[in-house]
Amino acid sequence: MDQPGILLSIRNLTVPLPSGGDRPYAVQDISFDIHAGEILCIVGESGSGKSMSANAIMGLLPDYLKPTNGQILFRDTDLLQQPESVLQKIRGKDISMIFQEPLSALNPLMTVGKQVSEVMQVHNEYPGEQRRRRVIDLFNFVGLPDPESLYDVHPFRLSGGQRQRVMIAIALALEPALLIADEPTTALDVTTQAQILALIARIQKEKGMGVMFVTHDFGVVAEIAHRVAVMEKGILVEQGTVDQVLNFPSHPYTKRLIAAVPRRRFDESAQASTAPPVLEIRDLKKTYMLSGGWLGKKRAIKAVDGVSFSVRSGETLGIVGESGSGKSTIGKCLLKLINIDGGQMLFKGKDIAPLTENEFRPMRNNLQMIFQDPFASLNPRHTIGKSISDGPVAGGKTRAAANIRTRELLELVGLDASSFDRYPNQFSGGQRQRVGIARALAMEPQILVADESVSALDVSVQAQVLELLQSLQEKLQIALIFITHDLRVAAQICNKVIVMHKGRIVEYGSPSQIFDAPQTPYTQSLVAAVPGKQWIPPGSGQQVSMPS
């Protein structure tokens, strides 16, 4: 066991869950090694125990979770046997960690420079003047602009990517031997993610650290990992080199996950629909005014700035962009959830923009929306049946007729008819999103707006929901406007793609145009930032069926 190079070795670690959970163990009998100078990616879907194993190493498990079995050997000392005082000396110095949310991981009331120097203060390193010097060196090293003046800046002044760089600087301050990164790029935009991934890879190479990188994204794995461990429901099902696991997966679960990774479809439906556009947007404008108080100047943010496009029945239009690009604002404008400041929205030739809420309400059934968060988009106090049938009832149908239709729809979206009387908390995220789709379809819409509708779902569930959306659309010939930040998802289901940047359309075209020959520099950088783009998942192109 004691070959040189092994930094951390987890042996048969088992952490039981309190009774009453959906499974007896958070992690069960997992073993893996991290060598010095390698990046080990732990991949799994939500609830697979991947973060739990990272927290167990740092001794960050909540009180009700106690490892009952196994060892965590760091340089041949079992961390599970050490008292808190010993762990405190190791944390931050020998092992450090980066978290998912750079927003909440930094103290908002302390300057970022202080937060970095705090680590050194705690471990009594770099005394006196050296400390400030070291912080500035670190800021330089992680690629933060203007390190000298950044020292005295509070976190709220920094962007998400910059905050994550500060977190990395804190983690690196004492040159740890092992860096644990728990989904460090999940909350970031794709171009920022690419930068942070490159930074972590560079640091790892220069410092020769071992990195344990927890993620759910196979693209990220392909981008950064040397070795991969796949976890499912607390069990480590497969581990091996990145080539082995990604290209020749042996465990059925890994195969299933990799098959579900969104990818370009090859049968690009070139049959351009010739039907007249069902919705035409002309020069849409939306400006948010931020009042500056009595003394400050008012600030106007152009969320949507002169956007025009059209969709036809049976067509899927993707709207792709990073956060702040205005893509979600467009979705809200289309459904008149917010007022617009200019432009026309022609539904079958009739401008719906100037209509008041009362005038528009009878037409609402034509335009429906599938929301982002499957947990927030259903009223927790209404049964599934009521949530779906409320719409038709508001449209004038009798409750009985609406109920019959609801049961049909539940079947259509692949849910059991018995779901009718159950409450949302009895369903998983994917099932809830199916309910959301059924609710939209109950109105018999002609246009369906899906705002980041699969972003909150695990990759295998995401694939199922995408498949469902696609088959429904083919069956019902609805115009689908699919808003997403994920280029890979857009590539999978859209006929046409709009790329948004700062409220404007920067590029419009078919997926192959956008991805193979992007014209504008912004689209080029966006496409280049997609993680793992060189990796072509095995089995591409073939239809993969999955049990729901």
Partner: protein
């Protein structure tokens, strides 16, 4: 519902509070059966100390009135005023808060300035003025308590509505074409209910205290025996007959404590995830 009861029963303090309130309520309801005569009637020798005569376990006051009878009848006044004024204040607060939170904009501004007008006046001072102007009666007391206790309720409901309005299921209800009244009634209000219920229980406790304070100041209803009045009437006798003020004081203490315990228990039971975070 069962889960709710189970979670509530896990909190011993809350169960204790519930038991006290049940006992006080039974006392209040059974007052005419226990003591047929008015508590104002002189029934025995004055100033009998407590625990000396079986018929008058808590003693008598300077006019020979039975303190036990006063306590039992006083429970009626306290609980009734607490409940009725809270319910009215809550209804008014919910209407104001819901309108402000749901519509926002200038309606919100107008309603909130109106609410602040009430909040800037010290509560007890406002209550005293209202009762003094209208003349002390059970209705003016309830009106005064209602007038001082609705603004916090309105503010709470407003903030709940403002957050819930942004939730996706409410947006979904707009998208499927539900009318605003229906959205407020079936989508938002049920989800805002748990904090409202919790704060309502604390409002009852405050109402009982306010009523006692008014009665203590001599602004109670002349026809109704109340705990506050008993304390107020006995303040000149405090050196000769401590029991005259102590027993009604204990009654107020226990009742208000019990209601607060219930409120806390409800809070834990209705928001189980909050409780876990604190542990």
């Amino acid at each position: 519902m069962q889960g709710l009861l189970k979670r509530y029963m896990r909190n011993y303090g809350a169960v204790f509070g519930l038991i006290i309130i049940i006992v006080v309520s039974i006392m209040a309801l059974a007052a005419p059966l226990l003591y047929e005569n008015s508590p104002w009637m002189m029934v025995a020798a004055p100033l009998i100390p407590p625990f000396t005569e079986v018929a008058y376990p808590f003693g008598t006051d300077m006019l020979g009135r039975d303190i036990t009878a006063g306590l039992v009848w006083g429970a009626r006044v306290s609980l009734m005023i607490g409940l009725v004024s809270t319910i009215i204040a809550l209804i008014f607060g919910i209407i104001v808060g819901a309108a402000a939170g749901f519509y926002g904009g200038s309606i919100d501004d107008a309603l909130m300035r109106f609410t602040e007008f009430f909040q800037t006046i010290p509560q007890l001072a406002l209550a005293v003025v209202i009762v003094a102007v209208l003349g002390p009666s059970i209705y003016s007391i309830m009106g005064a308590i209602m007038a001082v206790s609705w603004p916090p309720a309105a503010r709470l409901v407003r903030s709940e509505f403002m957050t819930l309005k942004q939730r996706e299921f409410v947006q979904a209800a707009i998208v499927i074409g539900q009318k605003p009244a229906r959205i407020v009634w079936s989508q938002i209000l049920p989800n805002a209910m748990s904090p409202i219920i919790v704060s309502a229980s604390f409002m009852v406790a405050t109402a009982i205290l306010t009523e006692s304070a008014l009665s203590f100041l001599g602004l109670g209803d002349r026809n109704m025996m109340s705990w506050g009045f008993m304390i107020g009437a006995s303040r000149t006798m405090i050196r000769q007959a401590w029991w005259m003020s102590v027993w009604p004081g204990v009654a107020i203490l226990l009742t208000v404590l019990a209601i607060n315990l219930i409120g806390e228990g409800l809070n834990d039971a209705l928001n189980p995830q909050l409780r876990k975070r604190g542990e």
